[in-house]
């Protein structure tokens, strides 16, 4: 379905570089569709700002505000100059009727977000820290666009910090587990990537830990 957005030009808003579109914890009443430029989605955790995503033209953000006025869960900052379409509850109806394609796109975005959160939750419910780290690799594998199915080996462009984030563990704890896997020759950790020797062995490992609960 083609998206005809000309009719929505009156909802366009422009932002200079490095400008906050909305800040985490402020009440949200609008969501945005990027037309030009890039938007960084980040969250402050303690003394660091964690980048969750960098969004491109055609992508939607702030979508949780469509139906509920709950506080924003993250901050949206422009990377360079950005042009967005801004929708709120008042003009959302117009959008829905005039452009169901955007509404469907939103619907699909929600399905993806729910799936990702659910998957993340599954990792966090594992009590065994080794199984948690292993399950993060399984999740990353599921998300890879080109499945490398011929062999058991998988290469991930990721770091211990990223894995710690997904596993809900401290970086030290995560490094400890990774080193343990390395000593068992199940993993190789390099500066910019981690090689997993046998993905299927990890699948069995995680599922055995899950059943034990």
């Amino acid at each position: 379905m083609e998206m005809n957005l000309q009719a929505f030009e009156r909802f366009a808003v422009s932002y200079p570089a490095d400008e906050i579109i909305f800040c985490e914890y402020e009440p949200g009443d609008a969501f945005y569709l990027i037309q030009q430029g890039r938007v960084q989605i980040s969250k402050i955790m303690g003394d660091i700002e964690k980048t969750i995503d960098v969004l491109q033209p055609g992508e939607i953000f702030g979508e949780m505000a469509i139906l509920e006025e709950a506080p924003r869960s993250a901050t949206a900052i422009t990377v360079g100059p950005v042009k967005c379409l801004e929708f709120n509850r008042a003009n959302f109806e117009i959008l829905m009727r005039g452009n169901p394609a955007i509404a469907l796109k939103l619907l699909k975005l929600f399905t993806k977000r729910i799936y990702d959160q659910r998957r993340r939750f599954m990792i966090l419910t594992l009590d065994d820290v080794q199984a948690r780290v292993a399950d993060v690799f399984l999740m990353l594998n599921e998300g890879q666009l080109e499945p490398q199915e011929e062999t058991d080996e998988r290469v991930f462009k990721t770091t211990a910090e990223d894995i710690a984030h997904w596993a809900g563990l401290s970086p030290e704890e995560t490094r400890h587990v990774l080193n343990h896997f390395v000593s068992q020759r199940r993993l190789e950790v390099m500066t910019d990537k981690i090689v997993l020797k046998n993905i299927n062995e990890f699948v069995r490992f995680v599922s055995s830990r899950r059943k034990k609960r």
């Binding site: 400008e19 800040c23 914890y25 949780m64 829905m96 929600f110 809900g168």
Partner: protein, 333 residues
């Protein structure tokens, strides 16, 4: 073309783990979606109502089914492919609206569950969170961003407990942005002696006065100061000029009564509200509070009646429905 299909009792329309682009709507019969609770491993049964779609999320999201769709008694369904579903939904955007509502509820619930298991993701109350964001940016000498956060704070919490600090910091941020520019300038200590007010207008995205008052009261409510929140909402409901926030406040007043355990007042208030505004989106929630109030008063028959009513409504979100199911179970126990 969407295809009508018939299934015998005990048939399984799809299994958990299947990948498929089919979406179904139940015309007649009884179908249950059986899944396993991630946390407890318990089996969950979600019964599909006549006219309800199922299989939507996994088909649209192109991921494996998360439940078994089991036919309980002979059923008739209509099967859509994703493009067929999209065409139908484009012509009838109410379907999308309804699903967006359900999905956003589910997502919130999942978010909350995930945050609950993550120490680092501890949710602050919105007031503190917004102020902290400002402080973070100020500490990093990102003055424009700090200014944004503090101005927002001052807009939403005009009489917030961090108001004085936020004013000071906002002013500092503005001054340092001019004097030094982003990333430069001396460190700002936690305490400042400036007392001047920040009164530069915001970028034309101001909330109405009612909205501001509303959020202030919401923040009071979230601090569990229900009596104070009640006062705040009453002022908006009586004098507010913004109709949307006036009605929102009316709903919140009922919640305040409930939280204050004034169940009689809660019932009376919501009953009046429903009569005056039968079409408010919070209607199922309002009925839930009425049911809860009756239950608290020991009138289980009435409570049950309200719960049944909610179960039959189309506007009730998944989260609410779960609460209601739990309440019904508790009544039966």
């Amino acid at each position: 073309m969407p295809r009508p299909m018939n299934f015998k009792a005990n048939a399984v329309i799809y299994f958990s783990g299947d990948v498929s682009d089919k979406i179904y709507i139940l015309k007649s019969g009884r179908i249950s979606l059986n899944s396993t609770d991630i946390e407890t491993g318990q089996e969950i049964h979600d019964y599909i109502q006549t006219g309800e779609f199922f299989g939507v999320k996994s088909a649209l999201g192109k991921y494996p089914r998360e439940e078994n769709a089991v036919v309980l008694s002979d059923s008739a369904v209509i099967m859509f492919t994703v493009p067929e579903f999209e065409q139908l939904a484009s012509q009838n955007t109410r379907i999308i609206m309804k699903m967006l509502k359900v999905f956003s509820n589910q997502l919130r619930r999942m978010h909350a569950k995930v945050s609950g298991l993550l120490a680092e993701d501890k949710q602050l109350d919105p007031e503190t969170g917004l102020f902290n964001a400002g402080q973070y940016y100020l500490g990093k000498k990102r003055y424009e961003q700090a200014l944004y956060a503090f101005r927002r704070y001052l807009t939403y919490y005009p009489s917030g407990r961090l108001n004085a600090k936020a004013s000071e910091f906002a002013q500092k941020a503005e001054q340092f942005a001019q004097d030094y520019g982003a990333g430069k300038g001396p460190n700002i200590s936690g305490v400042s002696t400036t007392t001047e007010d920040v009164s530069k207008p915001d970028r034309g995205r101001q909330l109405s006065d009612s909205a501001k008052e509303f959020y202030a009261a919401v923040s009071v409510f979230s601090q569990q100061k229900y009596a104070d929140a009640l006062k705040g909402f009453k002022v908006i409901a009586e004098n507010g000029t913004d109709e949307e926030y006036r009605i929102k406040s009316l709903f919140e007043i009922g919640r305040c009564y409930y939280s204050l355990k004034q169940f009689e007042a809660c019932i009376k208030h919501f009953t009046g509200l429903i009569q005056r505004y039968p079409k408010i989106p919070e209607l199922p929630d309002a009925l839930y509070y009425v049911g809860q109030s009756y239950q608290e008063k020991g009138d289980t028959a009435r409570a049950g009646g309200f719960y049944k009513k909610i179960m039959s409504m189309s506007g009730a979100g998944e989260a609410l429905l779960r609460k209601v199911r739990r309440a019904i179970k508790a009544l039966e126990a």
